[in-house]
Amino acid sequence: PHFIIYLPKSQENICFNIDSEPGKILNLVSDPESGILVNGQLVGAKKPKNEKLSTYFGKLGFYFQHEDMKIEISTETITMSRDSRTSILSWSDTAQVLSQRVLVSVKREKTVTITLDKEMSFSVLLHRVWKKHPTNVDFLGIYIPPTNKFSTNAHGLIGQFMHEPKIRIFNERPGKDPEKPEASMEVKGQNLVVTRGLQKDYRTDTVLGTDVPCWFVHNSGKGFIDGHYKNYFVPQLYSFLKWP
């Protein structure tokens, strides 16, 4: 998964990749105070390419604790559970489901938008690939606007950035590869070497996407994210993050 964190005050995009194994569940947002949880489970490509197995988000789990509502989004279905009741939609549907404060809106074969009380929203994009492709598999993307109001203790690979860290990008210079400029980024008391690159925002076009220039933090975001990326593994799709 490719992470792009937009920092509104700094007006910079910082990006990093998490390169792990199929089946692992990464915590993206963990906010017990607001009762909001978002986790993503990895799925692997059909086979390695150039001796490397690509991983993607194959399943996302949302838990809204105050509403006692769980929403599991896979590349096939959207399952909503509340109390002991379950409803299942498929990506073939175009539907909107309102259950108390939670609105789930499905646009056939494109997006699922979850809106909580008209104040917070989460968008999930479906990337459907050719079934017979030798390596590629269907996968999901998640987009969380910076305007979502989480508590000050929100954590997770994305949640921790809801309260924007201060950064300073300086000393831009040509990199080892002349086409890839580098810079230094001061963040959380450290100086990191970052590389200028392009990531993709697929909300405009799920196949080609729109280029998003960003400063890439290497080694799975080390130094930019709190701790190590392995600290963000959780055991179940609806587990809150237990920070060591």
């Binding site: 056939r108 050719w130 890839k180």
Partner: protein, 648 residues
């Protein structure tokens, strides 16, 4: 020649030879059109009465009939009933009769034509009828009653099932105790299937040296279709649209159910035994979050419990014991029984004892008319309407033929339910259980279908109080492609504490392409289905018309539609006449059960396109075709100016 062709001998004893008995039936998107043709020869030296007697489903519309007697052809035309009778009386055909007789045993009626055929005469009969297939308990059943009456030299039954949605499964159950094992041949594709039943003369015989035919029963084809979208399938063709709605993958809504059972003297015997047997199974099927009670009535009204109780094991056991001990006797006080049931539900609702997200049902089982208390049926109907809260649906099951089925139908349709006739025989228990199963799993409430565009008119009933799992709601209408290129449907509904809005778009060109490739597909299916739904719904509305003027208006519309679409309905008759017009027969619908048996589980209402709930943002109707699903992902080498970093 009628002998020796197939190499199989047919006895000379049978002086009237059934040369061929052919049935061809096509179901195109739930709309079935069936043709039954019989060719008979009188080989006797004496004139013989030749009979064409076929069973057709109740609620089917006869659309054509023709008969050829020794070269003279009689053809049918649809006339207004009174006019048709007058024409018939002017020129009654000699030695020939035709008529529709309602069967008391089954959900069928008989179309019977009798002709006095001279020696050597050849007679051919051909009947066409149409009906809609209703989904019940997760499947459609297409039944063809085969009743040739004697061995047929050529007996051929062909059934084509054409469903653009795709066939999920299809099978032909054995209805002949294994006698015709291996004879039906099924070929099934993704969207089409063909069932062929062509027994030889030897296979038709009851036994190897019998001269009677074993072909006297039903050929049944059972199938269901794939359902990709929750919003259902919207098909547009030839200026009409049809919308099939049967969502799945939802948890049932809890229900509050009151069983109101007639235990008057006439229920004594088989009827009560069968009712008790059915009730025991039905009570066992209740879910733990359901609430229920039982009201049994004769000239008095008793309640097992004065309130609704949860469907726990203990309560169910107790209820079963109560029902088992009932001894039918006395008169029938339907009015008080229903008012008591309504009171129990209303009281529970007012006291907040009902789950706010539950469905409330009353199931009335009765075998006769009221004999005690309020006897006037219209007053009973009024009492119920005035007292019942508008979240309660009333379903009525009429056992046998002594009950006024029309009254039960009006009563139920007026209160968000339907009525069903139960035949009082050894099968009563199965019929009761089958009906209950159809309403045991409410999935949605307040289902409304909107087609928000001026290109859509004449929409059939589009607002329904409930949707039950295993069934299907069908809505149809007219669509003017000149006013719009696309047809969109927006469906709103509630499920427990959730509000739903579902959208679907019709795939405009796919159907034309699909239908053009199959010669058996009926290109008129959308028009026929729309007409079938509209006429049946109008017949039911007519029974509930509040004034004579309103009733007249609806009658006029039904008549116009019946004539325009050339179908026999309770308001029309088929006049069958020769070319000269001096010999006529008449076939009209039997007098009772005017609005019977369309087969639908739902009686809804018509509402104008309504505004969507405020929280909904409908997707804009796309102006360009959607991109093809499943196109391969294009993988390209990033252009040189794109800067990729490690692990991209």
């Amino acid at each position: 020649s009628v002998s020796g062709e197939s190499g199989e001998a047919m006895e000379d004893v049978d002086q009237v030879t059934l040369y061929s008995y052919k049935v061809q039936s096509t179901v195109t998107s739930r709309m079935a059109t069936t043709m039954i043709q019989s060719k008979v020869v009188n080989n006797s030296p004496q004139p013989q009465n030749v009979v064409f007697d076929v069973q057709i489903p109740k609620g089917a519309f006869i659309s054509n009939f023709s008969m050829t007697v020794d070269g003279t052809t009689f053809t049918g035309s649809i006339k207004e009933k009174t006019f048709g009778r007058a024409l018939y009386s002017q020129a009654k055909a000699k030695g020939k009769t035709a008529g529709l007789v309602r069967s008391r045993a089954l959900d069928m009626e008989n179309f019977k034509t009798e002709v006095n055929a001279l020696p050597g005469a050849k007679v051919q009969f051909e009947l066409h009828y149409q009906e809609a297939k209703w989904r019940k308990l997760g499947s459609y059943e297409h039944r063809l009653h085969l009743q040739p009456g004697r061995l047929a030299r050529h007996l051929e039954v062909d059934v084509w099932i054409i469903e653009p949605q795709g066939l999920k499964f299809l099978h032909v159950p054995d209805t002949s105790d294994g006698h015709f094992d291996g004879v039906p041949v099924i070929s099934k594709g993704h969207q089409k299937a063909h069932v062929s039943f062509k027994p030889t003369v030897a296979q038709q015989r009851k036994c190897s040296n019998c001269s009677e035919t074993a072909v006297d029963g039903e050929l049944v084809v059972v199938y269901d279709v794939h359902r990709e979208e929750k919003a259902g399938e919207l098909e547009v063709f030839n200026g009409y649209f049809v919308h099939f709605f049967a969502p799945e993958n939802m948890d049932p809504i809890p229900k509050n159910i009151l069983f109101v059972i007639d235990v008057s003297g006439s229920m004594w015997g088989v009827k009560m035994k069968q009712t008790v047997e059915a009730m025991k199974t039905i009570l066992d099927d209740l879910r733990t979050d359901d609430q229920f009670s039982v009201v049994d009535f004769n000239h008095n009204v008793r309640t097992w419990r004065n309130d609704l109780v949860s469907a726990t094991k203990t309560q169910i056991t107790d209820a079963k014991e109560y029902i088992e001990k009932i001894q039918p006797s006395g008169g029938t006080n339907i009015n008080e029984a229903l008012l008591r049931a309504i009171f129990i539900l209303n009281e529970a609702n007012n006291l907040g004892l009902l789950d706010p997200n539950s469905v409330s049902l009353i199931i009335l089982v009765s075998d006769g008319d009221p004999t005690v208390g309020e006897l006037k049926l219209s007053k009973i109907q009024k009492n119920v309407k005035q007292n019942i809260q508008d979240n309660i649906s009333l379903f009525s099951l009429g056992i046998g033929f002594d009950v006024d089925y029309d009254f039960l139908k009006r009563l139920s349709n007026d209160n968000r339910g339907i009525a069903q006739r139960i035949y009082g025989n050894q099968d009563t228990s199965t019929q009761l259980k089958k009906f209950y199963n159809q309403v045991s799993t409410p999935l949605l409430q307040d289902v409304q279908f909107n087609y928000p565009h001026t290109s859509v008119t004449d929409v059939t009933q589009n607002s329904f109080h409930n949707y039950f799992g295993g069934s299907e709601i069908v809505v149809a209408g007219k669509f003017d492609p000149k006013k719009s290129e696309q047809l969109k449907s927006i469906i709103t509904a509630t499920s427990a504490n959730t509000e739903l809005v579902l959208e679907t778009l019709a795939q405009m060109d796919d159907l034309e392409d699909f239908l053009s490739k199959d010669k058996h597909a009926d290109p008129d299916f959308t028009r026929k289905l729309w007409a079938y739904l509209t006429i049946n719904q109008l017949l039911a509305e007519r029974s509930l018309a509040p004034t004579a003027a309103a009733k007249r208006k609806i009658t006029k519309t039904i008549l116009q539609m019946s004539l325009e679409h050339h179908v026999v309905t309770p308001l029309t008759a088929m006049v069958i006449e020769n070319e000269a017009g001096d010999e006529r027969m008449l076939a009209d619908a039997p007098p009772q059960d005017h609005s019977c048996c369309s087969g639908a589980l739902y009686y809804g209402s018509k509402i104008a396109p309504s505004s969507l709930p405020s929280w909904v943002s409908p997707s804009p109707t796309p102006k360009t075709p959607m991109p093809a699903i499943g196109a391969p992902v294009i993988e390209t080498t990033p252009p040189p100016h794109v800067m990729r970093v490690e692990n991209d």
